[in-house]
Symmetry: C2
């Protein structure tokens, strides 16, 4: 991190790239644009990671930096989704014990998906998940790996940006979905450091547009949890941007777009047909930002990050049919 | 090619790798195995190529070897499927005129998919497609790029094998689907040259099992076209193995497996859930060979090639629901 700002920098992201190489997939860039210019839209399919989402990068980078004593004590996190799976997988790959705290109303399929990577699951009432996580950390010495407000996690997600620029030297705009802000923060750090003229644009569901409002207001705005819960993009239901991700976004992100639920569904079908990808709603949000942009040509050659592909098969089938 | 045998060799495949690098996607290996050993099955997702299938490799390698006069005269091929799209795309990328002969009963969606890459489409009665292709070649000087019986095409498909071995040093078995035999031939050349102990296994639908019969008989056996037309794996409906691919298969392939239609559908769902891939029926055949193998453990650590992902969305939705 840069000491004077406390922000993650390019060196952190480059170091993360080395640490995650053995565990994460080096995803390719795929063409998805219209027939007359297949490079108008390219997509970065993080849905192809072993756990089905980019989250594995940040989790792997965090676990890799534990010292010997910390490794023995293990890690703990709270998540009912892709971050929990990522920490579980990264921990198993590194031989580190892992506990994931999940709300007792989490979908059984998500509990199973986390358990399959060998994590210990602790279920608690949804309101107690943060307290329970802290308690486990205190009692066992397990280190917390937060979903986005952790410089190791932000740096790990930033490797997506390094790879995009390594594979394409003609990019005008990078579109990334935003929930807590870990992915967009890391990607923006890497992209702006290497190629400041590339526009970095955050995309979020209009039903969970706390970042768009924060961006306009110049300060973090919290949306009621019951409002953000309405979007199908369940990976992006954070009700406020992270405390640590916010200054990264202020420093490096050019714009925030919002997309409708219909656009998200349309983008899932587009990605299935044009790039042969299974994307979850959150994973299709950035592509939706391109598909429904009122002035698409102004984006130029665009890369949209497909952040994940963990979707119920029936819901996916309905979206593409 | 090795002069004494007329077979494609490792040097041909290595040369192809250089020629295709700018046009084809360097696909990753993805984990797809069961929870307790995610490396038991890995998949090579050729469905991620710009045209949705491995065919782009061979077509690109063939087009890249045209001389200046040949480039001006252009190329011609006959195909209603992935090979036609591949030649069209490779030709456009190289700035070479391209004609694709298609049967007049081809599905409109396939005609459109080929036309979108800028190829001239000539539709003829299905029985006349070979004659029409030869005639165009004679009249225009266009060079034929055959779907599999062409050493340039076989060498191009073999790059899939090079990439598998570059990404994994612990493979026991490689499973590849077989129609005309171009993919399995090229892959077997590369894999056996670099690592002779790896088993290379061809997989075909039991409704189109002409290679299994040929392999058992020690000579090429033709199945009636109306029989092979029954399989959903429309990319694998060749009624006899190729004249040139057959000696490659005899020299390098260890075994031929067959799979049921139900197994193919099951594998499409498995690939969607476990690897977040949209696979067409042909593309799921190798994975089906692993899923339904009577003694799966005997295969050891396996890589299944997902050869393509061009499937009607409604058919795909039905398969995974």
């Amino acid at each position: 991190m840069t000491l004077d700002t406390g922000l993650v920098n390019l060196d952190d992201v480059r170091a993360a790239r080395e640490r995650i190489a053995a565990t994460c997939v080096r995803t390719p860039l795929l063409t998805a644009g219209p027939d007359d210019d297949v490079h108008a839209l390219r997509v970065k399919p993080e849905s192809l990671q072993p756990t089905g989402a980019f989250k594995l990068r940040g989790a792997t980078n965090a676990v890799a930096q534990l010292g010997p004593d910390e490794r023995a004590a293990g890690v703990v996190t709270h998540s009912s989704g892709n971050h929990g799976q990522a920490v579980a997988y990264a921990s198993r790959a590194a031989g580190v014990p892992c506990t994931v705290v999940m709300p007792d109303n989490a979908a059984p399929v998500k509990v199973a998906a986390t358990r399959r990577w060998g994590a210990r699951i602790v279920t608690v009432p949804v309101d107690e998940r943060f307290i329970a996580t802290d308690q486990i950390a205190d009692e066992t010495g397990a280190r917390l790996i937060a979903p986005y407000d952790d410089p190791r996690v932000i740096a790990g997600q930033g490797t997506v940006g390094l790879e995009i620029l390594a594979d394409a030297d003609d990019v005008d705009t990078v579109l990334a979905p935003v929930g807590g802000g870990g992915l967009i923060s890391g990607v923006a750090v890497a992209v702006k450091a290497l190629s400041p003229s590339i526009r970095v644009v955050a995309v979020e569901p209009e039903l969970s547009a706390d970042l768009a409002e924060s961006f306009a207001a110049g300060q973090r705005v919290t949306w009621p949890a019951e409002l953000v819960a309405r979007t199908s993009a369940d990976g992006l239901r954070a009700d406020v941007i992270g405390e640590l991700t916010w200054p990264h976004i202020q420093a490096h992100v050019d714009e925030v777009l919002t997309v409708s639920e219909a656009a998200i569904t349309e983008a899932m079908g587009y990605l299935a047909r044009r790039a042969r990808l299974v994307a979850e709603p959150s994973g299709a949000v950035a592509t939706a930002g391109w598909l429904t942009h009122p002035d698409r040509a102004s984006l130029g050659r665009t890369v949209a990050i497909v952040s994940g592909g963990n979707v119920d098969p029936a819901a996916f089938a309905a979206a593409i049919a």
